[in-house]
Each structure stands twice: as structure tokens, then as C-alpha cells.
Symmetry: C3
Subunit: 156 residues, 3 copies
């Protein structure tokens, strides 16, 4: 049976990723703040504000999925996927602040990573239910496979 | 004393509800994305965008209350209330995208469910404090009552 | 070694602060709702809506940092900082609804408290790693210092 207690040992990577994401949020918010104070061109402010809002809209979803995946299965791949997500988000934010003539990227981003983390949750719960009702525990295999599969997120 | 460790056993229903809510978020976001790309009528885009934003504004509140209620008292009624909340949210979102002539539903929704989950948290903490300082543990009674009370959420 | 299991004992203060923050969210949302229904002046509605949105944008960040700090180090200072944050947020919200002639406060608020909570997380993780790799555990000292330092948040 997989016990998976929430001790600092089991969550410290997730906490570190959460902290980095908070730093990034503050960085985004400061961009908005700075653009808000100098009202030179409104278009730039609108772009920063919209980029920040889209990132913030998706933030609770990301946090929830990452923590669930980390608690249900194993923290290392979840934290790794979280880091990749933060990089994607940074790129999305920067891409949003391009030239006015450029088209903006869409509303959604990081779909692949959210899907991967959701899959981790499902596998974790499935594995738990298998262990409970059939007495079979594939947790080690699953963790190895997940760790290997998380490397696929690095593909562009 | 109520131990309530966070093991997969104690949270897997909450994780499942969280996953469903994430799926719903992605569904909402894709609606916004699709409406954003075809700029036929701005009114429709504004409605979708506003509905999505209202749902996203309330999302962290919902997640926090559901997880607190699930951890402090018992997960089954909390997850059940979560499912009902997601149904209410779906109905709210669809209702928002009605005819332009129709009036939109308000900013708030699912007040009854949030209240129920908050009440569960308060009862859970109260029960814990009772157990700690007076040595009385009503957890089983409380869980039974909560389970029965959660059925009341089905009333329209 | 610091075990820090998530039992009700270790999180009930955090749950209480979360509940209060949820109450505050509902209060903010009801302000928006009320201002939305009477369309007397749009300026007032815009201000309430904007204040609420800024608060909601920062809410997941706050919750994540508070819970991480509470789980990694100790819950009492984290919950205390959370209460202070809620007071700052209340003041920010009220300040936003001032006269139209007044300038609004900026986009960010509560930076000092978020920094303090982030620092708590970092110290907690650092302390855990020290305990794991060097066998030294300063948790008691750190908790005392943190408790004392949290009083500094009361300074205006």
C-alpha cells in the first residue's frame, strides 16, 4: 500500500516550485504596476494587463494539478513538469508584450503540461485503487515510467 | 483523537473532483479561445469572457473550502458538494451565454454550497478542539450527520 | 527529523484563516454584485470591480505561500501573517472605493507579508535539508525566531 504522508520530505520540491511561481507572479505584477504608472501608451498597458490576467486565470488550475500529481504519485516528475510550465508561462508572457502589429498568442498555454499532470493524477488514483481492491501495487514501475515520460515534456 | 493524515486514501475523492474541475476550466477556456478567434460579434465574446472570468474568480475560493472541509471532517460529503458545485457552475456558464436580450445571472453563484463547505470546516475544527480540550469525540456522529445533510444540496 | 504530518492539529489555524479569507471574498463579491445591480454611476462599479479583481488575482498566490509556510515551518506565525494580510487587503479594498478624484492605490499590496511567508518557506526547506544531510536540526530555534519576527509585521 502506498502511504504517501505529507511530510516535508514528500513535498519540498513542490514547495520550491510553488515559491518560484510566486516570484514569477510578483514579477508579472510589477510589470503591470510599472506600466500602469507611466500612462505613455495605453496599448502597452492593455497588453501587459491582459497577459498577466491570462496567466493569473490559469494559475490556480496549475497549482491544483501539480500538487495533486505530486501527492498522488511522486513529487519529482510533478515538480519537473511545474518548472517546465513556468518556463512556458514566461515565454508566453514575453511573447504577449510584442509589437502592436503582431498577433497575440491565444488564451490557453501549457496544455501539454496540464494534460501530463492530470494523467499523473489519474494514474496515481488508479494505482491506489488497484492496490486497495486487488492487492497489486505497481507504484515503483509507474514512478519509473512517469519519470522517464516527463523528459518528453522537453520536446518543443 | 482524530488523526486525519493526508494519505491517498483520505484525499482521492477530492483529487478526482479537482481533476473534473480542471477539465471544466479547460472547457471554459477553450470556449473563450474559440470565440476569441472568430471576431464575428463582439457581444458573444464579451459574454463568454465575462462568464469565464467570474468562474475563475470564484475558483480558488471553492478549491480552498473544499479541500479544507475534506481534510478537517470527511472527504465524501466534501467531494459530493464539489460535484454539485461543478454542476451549478456549468449551468451558470451556459446561462451566461444566452441571448443578448436576456439579462445575465449575477456575479455570485453556488453560495449555498460554499456555505455548506464552510460549515463543514467549522464543525471539523470545533470537533477537533472539543476532542483536544474536553476529551469528547463526536466525529462519527458528525460525519453521519454531514453525509445526510449533503443530500439537502440536491434540493433546487 | 521534522515529521510535520498534516493532521488537523497542524493545520487548524491555517484552515481558520482560509475560512476568514473566504468570508472576505464573499463580502467583496457581494459588493460587486450590489454595485452591478444598481447602474447609477458606472465609475463606482468599475472601481469596485477593479478592486475585487486585483484582490482575486493575488488570492491564489497568498493561499499557496501561506499553506507552504505553515506546512514547512510552523503554523502559528503563518496564520498570524495571514490575518495581517487579510487586514491589509481589507484596507486596500476600502481605499480603492474612495472618491473618483482620488488616485487609486497600485496593483500590488501586501508585498511585505508575501515576502515574509516566502522567507518562512525557504527557511523551512533549508532547515529540512540541513537536518537530512548534516543531521543538524535547528527547528526549535527557527520557530522561536519566526514567531518573534512575525511581530515585526505589525509595524506600519
Amino acid at each position: 500500500m502506498d502511504s504517501c504522508r505529507v511530510e516535508v520530505e514528500n513535498i519540498f520540491l513542490l514547495v520550491i516550485v510553488t515559491l518560484i511561481s510566486v516570484l514569477q507572479n510578483v514579477f508579472f505584477a510589477q510589470k503591470v504596476e510599472r506600466e500602469c504608472s507611466n500612462h505613455s501608451h495605453t496599448s502597452a498597458f492593455e497588453r501587459v494587463s491582459c497577459a498577466n490576467r491570462n496567466c493569473m486565470d490559469a494559475y490556480p488550475t496549475f497549482l491544483a494539478v501539480m500538487w495533486c500529481a505530486g501527492l498522488c504519485l511522486s513529487q519529482a516528475p510533478a515538480a519537473f513538469a511545474g518548472i517546465i510550465y513556468l518556463l512556458v508561462r514566461q515565454k508566453y508572457f514575453i511573447g504577449y508584450l510584442g509589437q502592436t502589429s503582431q498577433s497575440t498568442p491565444g488564451y490557453l498555454f501549457g496544455k501539454r503540461i496540464i494534460s501530463f499532470l492530470s494523467l499523473m493524477c489519474i494514474v496515481g488514483i488508479f494505482n491506489y485503487l488497484m492496490g486497495r481492491y486487488f492487492g497489486q501495487d505497481y507504484k515503483e514501475y509507474v514512478e519509473t515510467i512517469t519519470g522517464a515520460a516527463s523528459a518528453l515534456l522537453l520536446l518543443p
